[in-house]
Symmetry: C2
DNA sequence: ATGAAAGCGCTAACAT
DNA sequence: ATGTTAGCGCTTTCAT
């Protein structure tokens, strides 16, 4: 721990005015001699400009914020990677905030309110739920916000979205092509934006196939443990069937489409608990195509939503708006892509 | 997006001086009438104080930083949870930075240098490598730093450590008690602090057992893919043996002690690739006891290093130092604890 | 209880 | 090319 030097001290030591010192340090007009003197003085003193003073004067902090609901979900880590790449290239520093529960003391709303104090020059946000309060807060914020997700048309906010409904449909089509006909949908909370979209995608996809027997189930959140629990109820409603009974029963689904990878892995565990072979008796698919797909066995078929790419695009939108605050809000979209792995294909399941 | 109001505007609207407005808003001496007027004006204008101006005047930002090498490793997410709990309770806001590669453009060193600009009031750091440069930067920083990890004695920095050498020894003892005698150590880079400590723990533990045949191997980093690759070389040195040959060979280890969970899961995959049964033919243990231990099958025996608790303790140390910068540096330690699961016990492996 | 004014550290006119 | 000065928005003496 050490005392900080101010520009005044540097100027004094260099024997020049504070203005000259500032100019020399910032590469503006200054004689080589002055630059040399000032630079040496700054080095001697270990001078670094004060962020608060600079921000106050310049009206910007050089800092950007990325806010996610749950940094424990690898999909957000991947998004962050994409954001970080672009943000760093643009000369900004990135800070990450995990808002956790949407209503806690560190809710997204508090975060945006805090942003109005000027902690950062911009925000990238990937909200699970888009409430009227959130939209109001978004409209009232003095710093640019880019949302990764889906917003009402009139929101007038830069947005990067994807078609996760189509993504789920891709999974259903794939399973149908593999001969699966009793397909269960394992959703997260239906009142979330992704929950609603994926549910819609599932409903529409199975509606196109009259030969499919479909059912829908909701886990309490998008986590593995919630998925495991919900999948248990889904696969073994009475909670007391034997493996043989379950496997033989036409009531037991032959495929589970989960709304994200965490839920899908929960389903994988439930299937194992109940002795149902994956993919032999039961196929499982996820959404997000996170690194977890390769961690489990069999590896998990999953719909890629190009998280890293979405992060990059969001960061690019933000930087562009920072340059030109008046430009029209833009909505970008990336297509989903099914990644087939062992959990849904009997042939690929055996190596 | 919206314009920000300043205190001056609030004061004007309330018909009082800027000083009175400040006092009223901050709950200092002010008549009820003034408080009422000012509060109303502030509400009307949607006033929030400017963070930069406040920080410049007060000399502190109310912000703390938590820096980790790789936010993709769940152990850091867990640490962060602990940090966040304490930091929030203390009224500070937390920002997280993933420094990635130690030498990249966003290295820890840059981070600490940035901190000298006054972006945050304090830093919690969990470095993989403790270089002389890092120590120098630590000594020169004007804001308090707490390190989670191990530092040279003379560093004079608040530290939260654990005995990961003992942790690895715990794993070795457990495996020995289970009858394993050909134990391989799968380390990460040996030039890292945890790498060195865990290596030492392994060497000492096996030295106490003359009947153990030990070997040591290094992965290029602490990731799953590096672990898988290194485990392949470890289990199948020629790269062309059949499963039967490997299983029958006395040269093939009957246990792998990995230096963290990611490496251990890599080893699990390598074992599966090669057809070696876990835990039947090969036991595997990890370190960190992350959530990943429950994701894999068989579930992973792992040494808990109480990551969340260490995060809490680090945050408490930091807050205490913020209150009293003069207090003597403190070193806290938490003990390791072995969590036995399916990957190391033949009985527990069969459910 | 309230107002006037100084000043945190810095940058950017403006003048020389 | 360099120095003087105003001022970013806020808190806090110091008078009154």
């Amino acid at each position: 721990m050490v005392q900080r030097a101010t520009l005044t001290q540097v100027a004094q030591r260099a024997g020049v005015s504070i203005a000259s010192a500032s100019r020399a340090l910032n590469g503006l007009v200054a004689s080589p001699a002055t630059v040399e003197k000032v630079r040496r003085a700054a080095d001697d003193l270990g001078y670094v400009p004060d962020a608060s003073a600079r921000a106050l004067k310049m009206g910007s902090t050089g800092q950007l914020t990325f806010a996610v609901d749950d940094i424990g979900n690898p999909v957000y880590v991947e998004m962050m990677t994409g954001v970080q790449e672009v943000v760093a290239a643009g000369g900004y520093r990135l800070q990450v905030t995990s808002t956790g529960a949407t209503s806690g003391p560190h809710s997204v709303l508090d975060l945006i309110r805090n942003l109005r104090r000027g902690y950062a020059d911009g925000l990238i946000l990937s909200p699970l739920r888009v409430t009227p309060e959130l939209l109001a807060e978004l409209a009232a914020t003095p710093v640019p916000v880019v949302v990764i997700g889906r917003l009402p048309q009139h929101a007038g906010v830069d947005t990067v979205m994807t078609d996760s409904a189509l993504g789920v449909a891709l999974a259903v089509e794939h399973l149908h092509a593999q001969g699966r006909r009793r397909i269960a949908f394992l959703n997260g909370p239906g009142d979330t934006t992704p929950g609603a979209a994926r549910r819609r995608g599932f409903d529409e996809a199975v509606a196109a196939h009259p030969d499919v027997v479909a059912s829908t189930h909701e886990a309490v959140d998008f986590t593995m443990s919630a998925g495991r629990e919900a999948a248990h109820r889904l696969l073994d409603p009475t909670g007391r069937s034997t493996t043989a009974e379950l496997a033989a029963s036409p009531g037991t689904p032959d495929a589970v489409v989960a709304a994200n990878d965490l839920l899908a892995i929960g389903a994988l565990h439930a299937a194992h608990d109940l002795g149902l072979d994956v993919p032999g008796r039961l196929a499982v698919t996820g959404v997000d195509d996170t690194s977890l797909t390769e961690i489990v066995h069999p590896s998990l078929t999953s719909v890629s939503l190009a998280s890293r790419r979405r992060g990059q695009l969001a960061a690019e939108l933000l930087m562009r708006r920072l340059e030109d605050p008046a430009r029209a809000p833009q909505v970008l979209s990336v297509p989903p892509l099914l990644q087939v792995r062992g959990s849904s294909t009997t042939t690929a399941g055996i190596r």
